[in-house]
Structure formats: C-alpha cells, structure tokens
C-alpha cells in the first residue's frame, strides 16, 4: 500500500472551508489531527468508545438532516465497528460522509499493522454496504477536490485518505466529555 500524504496536511486541507460542518472523530490520531486543523464547537472528539465514531455520526446525521456530518476516523477504529457501515447502508442518510485516514497501522499502540495493510479494502466494504459514493484520496489536490462533497448532503459517502505512518507533533483536544457535549449542543442551539 502506497501511503502518500502527511495526515496533518491532509486533514487541514480537508477541513478548510468546512463552514457549518458537524464533525465526529474517532479516538487517537484522527482526533488529534482534527484538533490540530482547528478546534471548533462543532467538533466532538472521542477519546475512547473505539468503534463508535461511525454510529455516532449516523445518529447525529439522522437527527440533523439539514446539516452535513463528517466522521473522521482511522482504519483501526473503523475496523472495530465494521458492522456500523452496514447500518449506515440501511439508513443511507444523504448528509453523512465517513472519512478514514488509512495508514494501515494502529498508531497509538506502536504502529502494528492493521488489516488494511494486507487484505482489507475499506472502500469495497463501503460500496458493498450500500454507500452512494466513495473516493480514494492520495494527493492534496484530490483532498481539495472532494471538499464540496462533504457539505453537499448529496448522498452517503465514504472517503479513504491514504496517509503515511509518520509521527506528528502533539496536539491534544479537550478530554472532558461533558464539556465537548455541551459546547456541541450549544453550537446547534439544542
């Protein structure tokens, strides 16, 4: 697997012009990447509940059909909850995109190889589950080009971002779950 992009550059490019996008991140590096790209009250960072980012984004997307929702997570996190992709495919909310920063590694625990490093094609899984569109991003130009689709609410989408398994500068979002919950709901006026 060719890992093409720096994850911080890719995430920063993905989140530029985010507008009112609602974001749920998986635990670990994707949470740090989203925070490093710019903290926002419309971000909810998971620090645990591994496998929960996709279903959390789904419940949010179903609750807020007039808002665009992005799940930003990693290959290890999405692999723990692959069934949630099937559940997304049943509900097919047009306002949800799942973006996976895929480095083929469990980055938080010593860079052990994940299933995507050898045999698993996450985009094929998403397609088989009924996602309306998929995109495989390996260049910053491709990341920039996909941005309008994140806010278009034009179909359940799955984006794989091929990123290098490199270390990144420390950037840690708030860990207080009550704080994150309240500021998110306050930003939405609920």
């Amino acid at each position: 697997m060719v890992a093409a992009l720096d994850r911080r550059q890719a995430t920063t490019a993905l989140f530029a012009e985010r507008g009112d996008l609602l974001v749920v991140t998986g635990l670990g590096s994707p949470a740090y990447d989203a925070f490093a790209a710019g903290d926002h009250p419309r971000n909810f960072y998971l620090w645990g509940a591994m496998g929960g980012a996709v279903p959390m984004g789904l419940g949010l997307a179903l609750a807020r059909p007039d808002e665009a929702v992005l799940v930003l997570t990693g290959d290890g996190e999405v692999l723990m909850g692959l069934g949630a992709l099937a559940t997304c495919g049943v509900k097919r909310p047009a306002n949800l995109t799942v973006a996976v920063l895929d480095n083929g590694r469990y980055g938080e625990t010593g860079m052990q190889a994940s299933h995507t490093a050898s045999s698993v094609d996450l985009m094929a899984v998403a397609t088989a589950c009924g996602f309306a569109w998929t995109a495989n991003l390996a260049t910053l130009e491709a990341v920039v080009a996909v941005r309008p689709r994140l806010v278009a609410r034009a179909g359940l989408g799955f984006v794989r971002v091929a990123v290098a398994a490199n270390e990144t500068p420390r950037a840690l979002p708030p860990r207080d779950g009550y704080l994150l919950k309240h500021r998110f709901r306050t930003a939405l006026g609920v």
């Binding site: 279903p55 789904l58 419940g59 949010l60 609750a63 559940t87 779950g177 009550y178 939405l188 609920v190």
Partner: protein, 168 residues
C-alpha cells in the same frame, strides 16, 4: 399486542423519543413494529447492540432523544461503549427483554442473562426491573424520565416471566 407492550409504545411517544435503535428480540416484536410504523420515529436496526450506544449519543448531540431495545444477551456486547455515557453524561434509556432466567429452555442464554444486571451496574447503568404486567408502565416511564432528566443510562429489565414461555 399485549397491553403492557402497548403501554411501552405509549411511553415512547409520551417521552418524545425520536430515534429507536434495536437488535431484534421476540419480546420486543410488537414495540419494534410500532416504532417502524411511526412517522415521528427513526427506527434503526443494528448489527450489534453496542452500535446503539454511540448512535443514540449522536442523536442527543443533534437534539433528539433515543431509546435502545435489546435482549439480555446484547448487554454483554455493550460494555466498553457504556463509557460514553459515564464520561459524557449522555442520557440513554434501554429496554432489555430477559432470557436465561425463569423457565429458560436454552442453557446458552443463561450466562449473560444471569450476569445482565450486575454487568450493567458495574458500568454505572441504573437498573430497574418489571416482572408483572401491571408494573411495566411505571418502570418504563420512570426509566425514561430518569435517563433524560438526570443525564444517565437507565436499563429497564423486562423479566422472562412477564414475556412468557417460548413455545417450540
């Protein structure tokens, strides 16, 4: 539909629950059908019960109340995900139809059925229980009220004797 199941459907409406997530169980059949048929409710079938916990946390982030339906065996699938409710105070009512207790015919249901309440309590979930039809409305309605008013996870266990013997 048994009257106690109708009371659950009415309690769901009264609590203004807008998302119902479930892994099917025979004891929930009528309630699931009613939720699927209600245009005010988004009903979501899950591949595993643990999906329901973040799904309904996401619903709450978006301003909607949720309810999780499962069988007692599904409680074991939820354990780590319940950290979401502990760490963030997401309200979560759960209705759990019990197996592995009164008149159980399948021993494979017994371990999780017998561990169900203790497992939930170990993860900080408040556990209520109804074994008689006349208690269902109060137990379920009280669980909904406590979950949403106190920002906690509350499970209402619906006993196997209430649901009745499974016929083979």
């Amino acid at each position: 539909m048994d009257p106690w199941q109708q009371q659950i459907v009415e309690a769901i409406s009264a609590a203004e629950i807008r998302q119902v997530a479930y892994v099917p169980d025979a004891g929930h059949t009528s309630v699931i059908a009613a939720c699927e048929a209600d245009p005010a409710i988004e009903a979501t079938v899950l591949t595993t019960e643990e999906e329901g916990i973040p799904l309904l946390a996401g619903a709450w982030l978006g301003g909607q109340r949720g309810l999780l339906l499962m069988q007692s065996s599904g409680v074991g699938n939820c354990i780590n995900m319940l950290s979401l409710n502990r760490n963030c105070g997401f309200p979560l009512p759960m209705l759990v139809t019990m197996r592995g207790e009164w008149a159980e015919f399948n021993g494979w249901q017994v371990p999780m059925g017998q561990a169900c309440a203790a497992t939930l309590e170990a993860m900080g979930v408040v556990v209520h229980r109804a074994d008689r039809a006349e208690d269902v409305a109060e137990v379920v309605g009280g669980a909904f009220e406590m979950a949403f008013a106190s920002d906690v996870a509350v499970a209402a266990l619906l006993g196997q004797r209430l649901i009745g013997r499974k016929r083979w």
